[in-house]
């Protein structure tokens, strides 16, 4: 999709979503207005899981074809996904403290979000610590696959564990028991976050590709003589 159209649709979606969050969605009975951050928090969380799945797909495709472009796509998806993941961990406590009086709760969703963040960090640190570009691409693709397969398992195991040791759950089940207006707001916000992800991903990929072009020019014989 053309970058400008993507930017425009993201902007529009975000505007609509903000309107819905603040104007349209009803005020939650027990939690009050602070609850509205829930729409962003959950949407970001879902998007960060979507992102690791994208990393998974592109890591597999890279290993199959060795096309550098696919590695760039996987890497950039991981970077943007990591940013989204970080915001989930920040927005969680912002919501939890005024509502429940505690900064953090080890419920299934938040714990899995934390683990997912760690997987992203592992992926990014791994890339930083490997010198050779080919190795970097290959090894992070392998880890990306392992991490992405693990992420849903982490979530499920946390849920099953939590059914044995109940703890405060943030926002109830997935989108169960939600007022239809709230549900609409959530879905629109999620769509806006996904669009934002794709936009940022596209931007980041273009930046990375430009860097590659510069490097390949540096490789060219004409430049060797000059340096």
């Amino acid at each position: 999709m053309n970058r400008n159209w993507l930017a425009l649709s993201t902007f529009v979606a975000m505007m609509v979503s903000i309107y819905l969050i603040f104007m349209y969605a009803p005020t939650e009975a027990t939690m009050g207005d602070v609850q509205r951050i829930f729409y962003i928090h959950v949407s970001l969380a879902w998007t960060s899981f979507l992102a690791i799945f994208i990393v998974f797909i592109y890591s597999i495709r890279f290993l199959a074809s060795r096309d550098r472009q696919l590695d760039i796509k996987a890497f950039c998806a991981a970077e943007v996904g990591a940013v989204f993941s970080t915001t989930v961990l920040i927005s969680g406590p912002i919501w939890a403290k005024p509502v429940w009086g505690i900064w953090w709760t080890w419920d299934a969703r938040l714990t899995s979000a934390f683990l997912l963040w760690l997987i992203y960090m592992g992926y990014l640190v791994l890339r930083r610590l490997i010198e050779s570009p080919e190795q970097r691409a290959r090894l992070s693709a392998v880890f990306g696959i392992l991490g992405a397969v693990d992420a849903p398992i982490v979530y499920m195991s946390n849920r099953w564990w939590r059914t044995q040791h109940p703890a405060p759950v943030m926002g109830g089940g997935e989108s169960s028991g939600l007022d239809p207006q709230m549900r609409l707001t959530l879905y629109v916000t999620f769509a806006a976050c996904v669009l934002l992800f794709f936009y940022l991903w596209k931007l980041r990929c273009e930046l990375e590709r430009t860097q590659e072009v510069v490097e390949s020019l540096q490789r060219a014989p004409q430049f060797k003589e000059v340096s």
Partner: protein
């Protein structure tokens, strides 16, 4: 069949080498004992009810950290005379290297864990004997998963500048479901009557192991490539 023979040769070589030097086993055992000592001072274990509650978790924390120590051994030992190259030069499928090393890691961890478990039972007055069979089963399943992910991640970490730090960073998030499953299963066998979730968590561990023994086997070639 040749695949298993080759993995077997590598397994045997790793065991023989470790038997000569005893580096990894000693450090794993000593570390485990030190952790037990720390737990004694950190938790008031005069209250045995507390121990029943925290025991399984503490046990598996000890297993995990001792295991991390041992995991580094897998490829560190090949660095010395660059002998990993010799393995890669052999007319074998590189997956056999993974399998052989994973089984060796598994064996060393199980040996260390048996001793650590015995010490736990003694120092913290766990009534282990009537539950020994089930405990062994859980330990085997948990350790197998840990060894299989650990081996491939150790191979990956080996290529980074700070490999000893990289391995736990990569391994712990991925091994977390294992810890959840193992701790819950262990806790289940210590309640009287045995907790109803025991069967569930055992099945969970089995499925996890199937996924995370197969995946590394498929991906290992990519890790060893140059």
């Amino acid at each position: 069949m040749t695949f298993f023979r080759q993995a077997g040769a590598i397994f045997w070589k790793d065991v023989l080498t470790e038997f000569r030097t005893k580096d990894a086993l000693t450090s794993m055992l000593l570390f485990g004992l030190l952790v037990i000592l720390m737990f004694h001072f950190a938790f008031d274990q005069a209250d045995s009810l507390q121990m029943d509650h925290y025991g399984p978790g503490l046990l598996w924390i000890t297993f995990v950290f001792a295991g991390l120590l041992g995991m580094n051994r897998a490829f560190a030992g090949e660095r010395e005379n660059d002998s990993l190259q010799a393995l890669k030069l052999a007319p074998i499928s590189w997956g056999a290297i993974y399998l052989g090393k994973m089984l060796a890691n598994l064996m060393f961890m199980l040996v260390a864990e048996s001793v650590i478990l015995a010490c736990f039972a003694v120092f913290f007055d766990f009534n282990l004997l009537p539950r020994l069979g089930r405990m062994c089963g859980i330990t085997l399943l948990g350790t197998l998963g840990f060894a299989s992910i650990g081996t491939i991640l150790a191979a990956i970490s080996m290529n980074t500048r700070m490999s000893e730090v990289m391995l736990p960073l990569l391994l712990l998030p991925i091994a977390l479901p294992l810890v959840i499953g193992a701790v819950n299963a262990t806790a289940a066998i210590f309640t009287d009557p045995p907790g109803e979730y025991l069967g569930f968590w055992m099945k969970f561990l089995v499925v996890f192991n199937i996924i995370f023994v197969t995946l590394p086997l498929l991906l290992f070639d990519f890790v060893l490539e140059e």
